[in-house]
Symmetry: C2
């Protein structure tokens, strides 16, 4: 008798996806990337993604304001659309709620959802509400669109490409670490918690990058780059070398790590849920893309590593010194 915890989440996906991937027409892309891709009209394609948030697994009711939870629930799905270079169109919410949930909590939850939906012009077009015996369960499916010529996949990275990220790493993971302990105690720590509770999907960044020549692969940072880079490696059949000293880290995380004795490189590489984007960029295009990104977003696109041959796997350096990373981005069934 093999239990789920023995095969893990990726074992589960590997076990059950093959029969569903057989014989897909060339216009369709299913399991294995941030979104599925379906035909729409002309060159346009539909992007579809679905994400489930389970209380006590993905959030703690007592540690996240309802408004932030509403915002974050939508953000997680929008981030998958961003990762393909698409624009979100509509969202479909399923919500299972214990009977003791107060209407005030729900008002705040929907306010948070609407904050982000309004900002990104996403329409909530449907859903399902039901009762739950104990835990809050949230599922959001999002439909987006993208020009088929611009869609970015996890596959496509080639040795020599540079690995970039569109935002600072580790803030969200740091925030979670604080929530699981004694909670935030100062302004820096509250900043990290806010990054964890209310992550912004990098939709503008994703759409901009998708429009550039030279982006060979893209995905969002959901489990932490140590885990997410392995997805790109698997789909692109490549290796990656990361320079830990080049991981972009916020000043609040840097100061909090120092104060609390955290390894800041480990926090940046293994912390999940930053929901910025990881991209592989052809080396000869990097200067132009870096310049354009800075001009467009008034901050740097951080180059953190390089794509290598498959055989070398994922390696970390601090400058020239090889480093072994202790903790890995978490596998949900790990």
């Amino acid at each position: 008798m093999t239990t789920l915890s023995a095969i893990g989440e990726f074992g589960l996906i590997r076990r059950f996806s093959p029969p569903f991937l057989k014989k897909l027409p060339k216009d369709l892309m299913g399991i294995g990337d941030d979104c599925a891709v379906l035909p729409w009209k002309g060159r346009m394609r539909l992007l579809v993604t679905t994400d489930m948030l389970v209380e006590d697994v993905h959030f703690l009711r007592a540690k996240i304001p309802a408004r932030d939870l509403g915002y974050k629930s939508l953000s997680v799905s929008l981030s998958d659309i961003a990762a393909m270079g698409g624009r979100p169109e509509s969202a479909f919410l399923s919500l299972a709620l214990p009977a003791e949930i107060r209407v005030e909590w729900l008002d705040a939850f929907f306010r948070g959802l609407k904050d982000l939906a309004a900002a990104e012009r996403v329409r909530l077009l449907g859903g399902d509400t039901t009762k739950s015996p104990d835990l809050i369960i949230i599922n959001i499916a999002v439909i987006g669109r993208a020009d088929r010529e611009r869609i970015k996949f996890r596959s496509g990275a080639k040795p020599g490409d540079l690995i970039c990220v569109t935002g600072e790493l580790g803030d969200s993971g740091g925030g979670l670490r604080l929530l699981l302990k004694d909670g935030p105690v100062d302004k820096d720590e509250r900043y990290l918690v806010r990054k964890h509770n209310r992550p912004r999907p990098h939709l503008e960044e994703g759409a901009w990058l998708a429009g550039q020549d030279g982006i060979t692969a893209m995905m969002d940072v959901s489990d932490g780059i140590d885990s997410d880079l392995r997805r790109i490696m698997e789909r692109s059949r490549c290796g990656v070398v990361v320079d830990l000293e080049r991981l972009p880290v916020s000043a609040p995380l840097r100061r909090t790590a120092e104060k609390r004795g955290w390894n800041v490189h480990e926090a940046a590489a293994a912390g999940g849920e930053d929901y910025c984007l990881l991209a592989a960029v052809r080396a000869e295009r990097i200067k132009k893309i870096e310049t354009g990104f800075r001009k467009r977003f008034c901050r740097s696109l951080a180059v953190i590593g390089r794509v290598t041959e498959r055989t070398t796997g994922l390696r970390y350096f601090a400058g020239r010194l090889p480093i072994k990373l202790g903790r890995r981005g978490f596998d949900h069934f790990g």
Copy 2:
């Protein structure tokens, strides 16, 4: 402090849907019907629906074989596509699983899902798997398509129209009643339990009806006709009168009701999850549609009642005798 149980599921929908329904372009249809309707190419429209099944609310792990649960999870969403007269195209599964779930259970769950997906040519194109602290949670979003001229809504029924159902009522509810007691003890009772555990979505029936002239409203029977007819009444601003003696009831339900002392009319009217279709048909078209339905499906389309003016509400008769129905189709937060 108002809790959710005080406002109920429909109170919740009424409370939160208005801000999301404002300013929808005329090509879009959101919350309030079985599916959302989105523009696609030419006359084709996308249909989108999402349904969540929560252990101990929608199913009991010990009372439903994993293979049936996989089948039913997809069936519930496909039934919403059937209700609009559409064809399903692709499905997106989110699955939260406790760590003790065995791989054999999952194999069977996916086999059941594939049984129905293969039969209806639906592709599983994506999803999300995650762990759950205790309960199995399943969410399936389905995308379908329909010609905009053929889509059927809950609105549109007019006084004088006849109310029809495409299948026998109450079997699934009877099966649930048995499962919650001592379980099925004979062939009839096992038939009812199977109807509950493995309901067939009426996709062929829905597509056929949608192609007929004279169908003014349609929806699927999910909560029981007593509850579902009220949805049609609300959206169509009408009343309905039902003749309980004309509700189609299977021989196994009739025999089981007699044996166990159930009120068979109540079982047929209040039992949920039959997943056949309810339709309103213009009176002058009914003969042609009844004949065509019998020819196409080798069974009757049952005429169970008539649409009336709004002020008269929902009324039941047994022949000419007015009847008051005791138990109502259940409201999830009731």
